[in-house]
Symmetry: C2
Subunit: 350 residues, 2 copies
Amino acid sequence: MEAPSFYRIALDVMGGDHGPRATLEGARQALMAHPELFLYLVGDEAHLKGLLESHGLRSTLQSRYAIVHAGSVVEMEDKATVILKDKKDSSIRIAAQLVRDGKADGLVTMGHTGAANVAAMKELGTLDGVDRPCLASVMPNRAGTPTVLLDVGANVDCKAEQLAQFAVMGSIYAGEVLGIARPRVGVMSVGEEEGKGSLAVKEAAHTLRTMDLNFLGNAEGRDIWNGKFDVIACDGLVGNALLKSAEALADMLIKGISATFRETWYTKMAGLLARPALKRFVKKLDYAEYGGAPLLGVKGIFIIGHGHSNGRAVASAIRAAFTASEHRVNEHIQEAIGSLLSQAADNTPS
Amino acid sequence: MEAPSFYRIALDVMGGDHGPRATLEGARQALMAHPELFLYLVGDEAHLKGLLESHGLRSTLQSRYAIVHAGSVVEMEDKATVILKDKKDSSIRIAAQLVRDGKADGLVTMGHTGAANVAAMKELGTLDGVDRPCLASVMPNRAGTPTVLLDVGANVDCKAEQLAQFAVMGSIYAGEVLGIARPRVGVMSVGEEEGKGSLAVKEAAHTLRTMDLNFLGNAEGRDIWNGKFDVIACDGLVGNALLKSAEALADMLIKGISATFRETWYTKMAGLLARPALKRFVKKLDYAEYGGAPLLGVKGIFIIGHGHSNGRAVASAIRAAFTASEHRVNEHIQEAIGSLLSQAADNTPS
């Protein structure tokens, strides 16, 4: 008989707009749902102890988590590098150290993305052969499936090899963690025809075509939403602009439509009648379902949730970290990057 | 007394999804609204003659337009270069020739963007000092004002000088044609802090800071929608992806919300009550108001409307071309590019 597997995730309890209120609720939900899960709750010990009771964590769940003290927390207005000097004992950095020391298999934070990135680089570094870690956003599309867009972080001036690495890492994440069989992979360009796009895009597409990957070629902006691709790789400037534009546009449209319902007594009535259906629709688009943004290419599993995350979103992020470690995502990435590199070496004229 | 000014615009009557039905309606609206406007209606002469009556153009307006025959039309599935060989007599090329020959001051088409670009380059070329023409999209933002995003065409791998040129051309267009005083100009990056972004973005920002321009620095994806910037310059791959993503996302959200109203009898009722208010809201977002996308940097005025354009959108595009020629947009661009270039020359170590 195989020994039972246990997966230990470090949760940065302090990060995110709602702090422990959301993260502890997410912790409870995740522990209830996954009996093989163990959590390190990283944060201010005294503060957290007082909150456990009200979050239903002083219960049968008590044996399945441990509090790890952290003396500070990175605020959203802090610089990402604050964890290197002034906030060495911040919850994100302590959580990263748990992964570094092999105590935790992965890390989940709703806090400062830049600080999480710096913590990952400082404590763990990248997988062999990976140039830079890359942040993937999991977006809900019209087909009701997730589209993984990466990089949405800040890897600018990406070379073709980096774009190819993003595509490979995204494909493995989509397959192993999101459960998509043979993920359809594309690279973001200005038109679907082969040969359209920047030099880096064209060269990346050329490399990806030769790989053992379900590579469909060029994607366009609309393909984030139509369900034709599961994974779209792009330069971090492109992805970051796309992500921030989409968030703001969706917010503008949904708030604008809500406002129209407050105009007159009969639109108010209409709003009342339509509210449950509209809520269901907005829920369908909710990122909360998909478990946050993985920081891929790091020696360890890092899932960065949205600052606004509620308990359900935190639980999804924990589930994503858990699944990524269960499915050995980083080993798969390491293998694939290795074959990408050896292929590149083969193609280099000697 | 000054001689009265007349502005002559060549309208590609055949282009666009709705063909002459939309363009002739737009022509009529524009002629009614602007007594100083003269139109060349470029298209199949026999076909058009039969349509004039039903579009209210056999009237007092009759002296203010002329039909110019074109033997073919570029279809959306054609390659952009089709106008160089197989469709030399296409309406878009004939219209461009009217501008080349000084018969028309500007051109308006709802047709194939790529073909319009090729026609512009073939018949007119770029303004002195402009590397490549650039397509600007005029988008409606939350503040109820337009945001000009450029390039949304296909200038990929843009260098810093090109980005700076886009910013300058966009600023002039926003000021002269959209009537925005001291347009607030930005360059698309991954964060608002100075020094964030790609090499080209940082260098372009550096140049733009020294110019006589209301340059605010880096913009982010969300700034397309929040009204903080009037003009945002970016690489064509970034802008193209942003534009196509935004169109698809808005469509997905609006269709998704409409669908929720069809779910049950009371959501249907709600839909009925809310429809006028929702229609007003969607109209506020309508690109039809802003007159299409100018192709800037060309020796001549080119306005490319959306393929879906209705009569009102065509009329807005004609108004934009008319205003651009009335305000001598290209002369202003030429001057500004000249000062950009002389500045660059001054900065070159001798």
